[in-house]
């Protein structure tokens, strides 16, 4: 099939733009079009569950509303997140913000109480509010429960959030489970440890597996949409081993494959482990997810509607 050259004009819609990428069909253009079509089909198909994994600074990096909207519209069915993305959702839910870098030196930032994520800043003040508020929520949860699995714990937090822009809240309200196997490695985890110093509460590391495996077993088909790699990518793929692997997968990443780390591994590799089915529909998009996921979602929403 011939490569058709992209025609770019004034006043284009995202839908027209994605169509141009699709007709080119090669390199990044082909990958983005493939991912967009696959995401649209997966959302539209009532027999397909969409698992979304979040690693890297997706929430601080501008995707909070997109994730929240996908949850609110039940366009994703299950989330596997790094602890950090949950923390940053809560920081904003409690009134904090993320800020654009002004290019300060990191030692100066330390003195100013500003944590840096690439060109994003956080403020110590916002984390102080976060600490206060999350401790109150822990205490409230602890009145009802002495032990929870991580997913149950996040769900309970979600029920106690007062911000409709929070994807954790929206997920709780819509019964979309959020898993975070590495939750202990974030500010929520640190605060929980402080809380448990003088309170009787235990978070079970292995407690989610039964529910997660139920989610997998009850899914006729699974499309995994993986933003970044890390623990969330692996947990997403590994949970599907129980049914012979995912049916389709999209990953958006800047990581590379040669060092052998899972974050950069081609999705094809997952087939060898039966984490992806033979014949599964897999596409890797190389690039920055904070631009390319919005583009793919915008394109998919247009296709779903039609």
């Amino acid at each position: 099939m011939q490569v058709k050259h992209l025609e770019i004009t004034e006043n284009m819609t995202i839908n027209e733009f994605i169509k141009q990428l699709d007709e080119s069909g090669v390199l990044g253009a082909g990958r983005i079009a493939h991912a967009t079509n696959l995401l649209a089909d997966s959302i539209k198909d009532p027999d397909t569950q969409v698992f979304l994994s979040l690693a890297g600074p997706m929430i601080p990096g501008g995707l909070r509303k997109i994730v929240r909207d996908l949850v609110a519209n039940k366009q994703v069915d299950l989330i596997i997140s790094s602890g950090a993305n949950l923390t940053h959702d809560l920081v904003e839910a409690f009134g904090g913000n993320h800020y654009k870098s002004t290019g300060e030196d990191d030692e100066v930032l330390q003195d100013s109480g500003m944590g840096r994520i690439a060109d994003i800043y956080t403020h110590a003040d916002d984390f102080e509010v976060f600490e206060e508020e999350i401790q109150k929520i822990f205490a409230d949860i602890n009145q009802e429960y002495k032990q929870l699995s991580i997913q149950e714990f996040i769900y309970e937090i979600g029920l106690r959030i007062d911000d409709d822009e929070s994807f954790i809240k929206m997920a709780a309200e819509n019964n979309i489970p959020i898993f975070a196997p590495g939750i202990i490695d974030c500010m929520i985890g640190l605060q929980l440890w402080i809380y448990t110093q003088d309170h009787d509460f235990i978070l079970s590391a292995a407690g989610d597996m039964t529910y997660l495996s139920d989610c997998v077993f009850k899914s006729k088909h699974v499309t995994a949409c993986m933003l970044g790699g890390g623990l969330p990518k692996h947990y997403t793929l590994a949970s599907n081993i129980l049914t012979g692997g995912i049916d389709a997968g999209i990953q958006i990443t800047l990581d590379r494959s040669e060092g052998g780390s899972l974050s950069g591994a081609p999705l094809e590799e997952a087939k060898s482990w039966a984490k992806a089915k033979k014949g599964s529909n897999l596409v890797t998009v190389i690039g920055d997810a904070t631009v390319l996921f919005p583009l793919i979602v915008a394109g998919a929403l247009d296709k779903i509607k039609i």
Copy 2:
């Protein structure tokens, strides 16, 4: 300034999408928005000349029409290209095409006469036509000239092309110079060597410098838009050393900086060499230019119109 989260809805236009990236302002989103605004401003400003450099498979990868339209609309003022991008423009001008990969093994492709560029195929048949046609053009040029600089040579080729979709033809018609310091390292160069085996013609390696320096000196301001790195990126930057460096620069690349190669070097480094002015407006977009340049151009066209 706060990071505003992107809001993605149905029926978005590119203009609305870029506006969302701009309001986020961080990571890839911020870089794309910055590049889009800078390109639009540079095209609109009559005192700014836009230099476009092409390295990597831009023409086989689907950008032929975009480059051609930028040239036809005089939205770029000067092009510095790899030899390969010129060759691939001519392959199509002479009736050939580029094709989407069907995943064959490279040894099988060799037997089938199909050259591979990532997931793009070329056909030996198309190159045979190319060879015949380019030899005719060489002979025609040689009737008038015994010696040309590389830019003059490409211009003369452009005048003899019969395809309005060719950016080389459009550039010749619009008096937009194309430089290609490494032209000898492509099929045009190979064919030229064959031609010169029994014809009296010499292509001067250093012959373009006077005209290129004239182009630079007569430009009040220069914005360099660099797709990929390599020789075209360096030549673009180095040519501006004569006037103290470029005033603004956009590069789109997947290369990285740590090995010290120019292709992955941050544009800031160009300041040390006076290839970029102090205070110049520089932005590096990390990603695949075959997707991100069309997005940036689409966004810029909307901004120019307004």
Copy 3:
């Protein structure tokens, strides 16, 4: 200071080679020399504790003996590992192996029960033995304990391993703690879940923080040596926030910074979060840790001896 050109001769020792890199002092050569000197100084200094983090396929990729020897010789003081590296250590401890790729298609590998990690294969047979053996160990541990933190759990496993080449065993014997906050996301975690389906045992997610913070507080100085990124890198840095950050850090990675993920983040960024002290000695080596860490260790061992 001038860049001295490397002189490479026959019969060089690693020590001479590293000396050449040091005298060059730039690009990768400078980074490797810096890391080697820093690791040697950190190991030699009785007041410095070396924290080693393991992400990516370090154990399957050939580093098992190096990590084991560093532990046996008490040259590292604390390990933070991905679950996978623990699993792969146990697979070998129970008699299994890792194998070099023979280039099979991933769908064929699935049918053959061979999991692929880049160009490394695992065998289903080895995992079957692993499953049997780890279940026996769980049962044995469970006779003594109904609840453990993750670090305690790995320690108890280590005590029950019968392979002196296992770094988990050596760590247990030498009282070098191993933390693995994401342990649930690996075959050990999956097997533990199966075990807990009909046994009364709970693994506490937050249970390690007290001991880890004790380790940090009792360390006069901390040098973090981070192979790969992910959860292990973040947990290593974050645990040091309690004392104002690490004093020195080495990371070896192929990940890049522009997407904002922690795995690719420059170590300087850790200063803004007080995860690295102001003035701390930080070096990032870009490359494949399965080659560069052995080189750095070899160089450091020579320097320690002297």
Copy 4:
């Protein structure tokens, strides 16, 4: 075949270290061992010609002596270089140096006349001497010749250099041709243009092809060793198309493949173009060539001797 874990001890030689990498055989370790064995075999075999390509800051980055020694010992047979690596060899031949970065801002460097290449500095003073000296050499050459091909031109420069550490001089003395198709894009090119403003001399862009094709035709086997990508990599591969492609190839690069640029392209792709023979022995090493090439050369020298 099983992955054998690396054993690292005190007082290791490079030879022992490479042997450990070879026995591991996977990931970067396997690639380095493969490249080392291939380079050693290629140098030892009198029927194999070794083509070395140089892109990226190899000479400023500390490899000048290694390249010079390979040339002096006739361990490479033909060089294809970027213009910049030739310029930097001459800068040192004329008494200049390269310097380690002291971390200055690029705008400050501009004012100080210091050009930056990653963490390497150059001094304007050294370039002033370069300009004076190269102009004298041009004048001397021009007394004998009015037209030269690029390779002939570099050879003539080499004959006029008074520094035994210069690889250009050593190459001229040993009749090892140096090709540099993009020479016009470096300080030598700029100075040549200045020279030709008022002198009658022409450098022929296509003039080298006949000699280069003779070199290729007279080589029984060719092993291409490619440091970095760019024009030098492509020219190296493309020149071998005349005989059906290289027999073996090593590339060391940090570039990646997904964008389709030749610099990051897997060597396998060259088979489709008949730039590498079917069944050719090809290995890509991912990493910084300024560390890994010295390591590979050191390992190869030990193997050659044996």
